[in-house]
Amino acid sequence: MADLRELEGELAATLRRLEPRTKFAEILAQAQSGEGVRIERKTTTMSREPRVRGAVIRAWAGTRWAEAATSRLDGASLHEAEAALEHALSTAASGGGPPGEPSTLRSESTDDASGSKRGLSSEEMLSFSRDVMRWATAVPGVSNAQAGVGWTDEERLYVNTAGARCYQMLHRVIGGCVPFAIENGRAENDYVYFGSLGSSELFNFMSEERVTQTAKSARELLSARAPPAGELSVVLDPSTSGTFAHESFGHGTEADQFVRDRSYLRPILGQTVGPATLTLVDEGSYPHGWGSIWFDDEGRASQRTVLVDRGRFVGALHDRETAATLHARPTGNARRSDFLSRLFVRMTNTYVEAGEWTFEELVKEVKDGVVLEHATSGIEDPQGGQMQLKVKRGQRIEHGQLTGPVRSMALSGKVLDFLQQIRGVSRQSDFEMTPGYCGKGHSDLLPVGSGGTFLLSTAVVGPA
């Protein structure tokens, strides 16, 4: 399909037609391509990204935004979408402009794909996936696995009536393996995943050693104990620390929740919320991060935003509107899931910065507790300040010693209590950034990274 830049003339013409009828309008066009393979013991599936592309038009209708979108990028279809805004814009000229300053940035960026697997052939992906499958099923008791790898190239072109024009190409690579162990009618699994922007690290990360270790973990879980139930010391592994960062101070600092007065965090901005060892960051410019972007969908460059600085809550994530309302600056966090979805303030790569402890030192601190490993999901409660984290597996800690694996579990707790009880964060050498997808409300999924090292605190856990 044609590069989106070839359609700029149509987008510019649409903006010109809208200009007399609104104080501000913008268009985001989006397209993507890609390929992936997934194999199991009895099946092989090769797929390509759907040939879907389109554009969304957002225009200020005097007192609120109006939007229309289309999955066709020809002039007639854009004209039809623009016409659909006619009624909403009929009163726009009489009102004021939208809150905040529009972007005027003009730039083009593509990720550094040097050494990446862009253009990875179908044969190479199949061969790699078969290697992963072979490594996993070589472990006794592991009869099957899902192994896969894929890449996408996503184009986004943003233009507005203030003159901004931002084009970006994002090349993402992801791969993983889920080994299945089955015994006496009981089944277990574990997972290992890697995803990044414009990097070939996948193929180093998904090593035979790591895949074998994951397959052994799946088998080990068949005979693992149930996790303990109740309030106790918890050590979060890097993937779970990352999910904690995302759910605790990530969603709660999306400033649209501040504006709606729907964040328990807003009243405590500037206060100390945790120990000096705790620093939380959102960074859309994180090198090769799965959630990294060059520009957000209001045409602002991505950046590093410190949310908690050595225990003090110092920052929030903004789009133009929340920044204007709260006398802050936009942080490059205005994101749409795709051209069909609305714009929200969203995270990019959110992580806990490393501390000084070692994992062994954290475990020694614990009399009765559990290590939570391999995060599978999390949810936030921006109003009430609760959070839930779920993990695939864990390890029991008794009297400062690891005493065996435990099965999947959930953690529940009040974020501020959890922060105040953080006793240690482990070193940079443990740091991992995990790929994932985040929704806002029901849907609007988009890629985000979550990172951290090991972290010790206290919370309620139970089987899940």
């Binding site: 390509r48 229309a68 199949l126 929740q257 949810i379 409660d381 099965r407 409300g441 899940a464």
Partner: protein, 470 residues
Amino acid sequence: MSETNGTASTAFRAAERLKLAEPWEVYGERSSRYEIHLNGREIELVRGPILVEGYGVRVFRPRDGGTGTGFQASTDFSEEGIRATAEDAEALTQYSSFPAKKIELPNGSTASAPSPEIRDPRLWDRPLETLQEYVDGLLRSFDGVPDAQPSFGSVRATLSETTLTNSAGLRANYPHTNVIFELAVKSTAGPEGRPPGEYWVNEIMRRLESHDLPDRVADWCRLARDARRAEPTPTGDLPVVLPASVLSGILPLGIGDRVTGAARLRDLAPQIGTVWGTDAVTLRDDGRVPWGISSSPVDDEGSPQRERTILDHGRVTGLLYDARHAGAFDTGSTGNAVRGGHFSFTEWRRFESAPGSATTTLVLAPGDGGSDAELIEAAGDGIWLQQLGWAIPDPVTGAFGGEIRIGYRIRGGKLAEPVRGGTLGGVVVAPEGQPSLLGSAVGFGSTAVLSEKLLSPTLLVRPLTVAGQG
């Protein structure tokens, strides 16, 4: 529906210009979406129409003693676009393999398959006005409520026409509507010093009904107030009462991931005759339930919807197949081809996915446990679970659980104080004699309620593991 007026022909138009060897299939979808987003009581954004028209092409080719399947989707209806889409699908068969020697695609037309009620006629004819009226009614229902108001929400309606055709002569076409409604209700009533309470409403449905909004809003406000004054959850193995609205986040995936042809291919499906529940558990799958979000006249390959028994008095009696997985086991499709990815329900853009085998609406037979109040009385000392956070089961182990967003302590057979926080979990099914959600269900309410992909009575399960600070 002005943007999709006339007879939908998306799949037919694309298929006419395809130059493919048999067997092939084209699934088309033309959708318009309209949305209203709220910031408190204010409308902050009106969206629509959001127009998407696309098609997915699937082809099957003999390969290595089985079948190579190729699938590609597109919104490009130009000659070049259709040709490229077909070439993609054809090329992908070279790299794909599936252990089915023959795949029987359905034929016929929807004329012979009566459609369940899945289209809201008012929404179809006047989408934006109907949304606006719903939002007006919603906000009016909050008038005069001093201590609870909406803080954030949206209503998103999708109007779609689905078309299917294939090389076996199938021509199917049906219209349907979907609505996603989300609302955060915030309460500042109750004890000083606590954060505001919130109740999060999240519903997926086929139609918009506003006549009962005043009663529903009153309920949501009560739950938001109770979230604020809730006490910590106790710890222990306790009797738990779960209504259909909670079970719908657990059973469809917990059961659905295990009773399909896909699970059988992974050696994860149960043998026919396996005991998965008590004698009181009879579970069916039915793609014709009126207003079910997964209901339709035909499945996503064009096979007529029907009722299939999965568990009869606790024993597994049948598995669910689409045409491809049926071909792998020399059996017939049960009409369970579903597009839309892992969660097996996507309200639109289904044309972007090839079908897999999945449940439609699970129907759990009611029992003789009576009303919710009678089940609560039977629980004696336990928990009524109102809302559980992201309890979604592991597709392999069936382990489910999450944080208790809001529940109530049951004391002496009566609802007592609200509880919040802590976790509740278990496994959906387990080998006979081991505790599980279905195996430990001791009370089945007498009335079934439709909640998303589940039509179920309230269940009393004795026990489930609850972990909290109390």
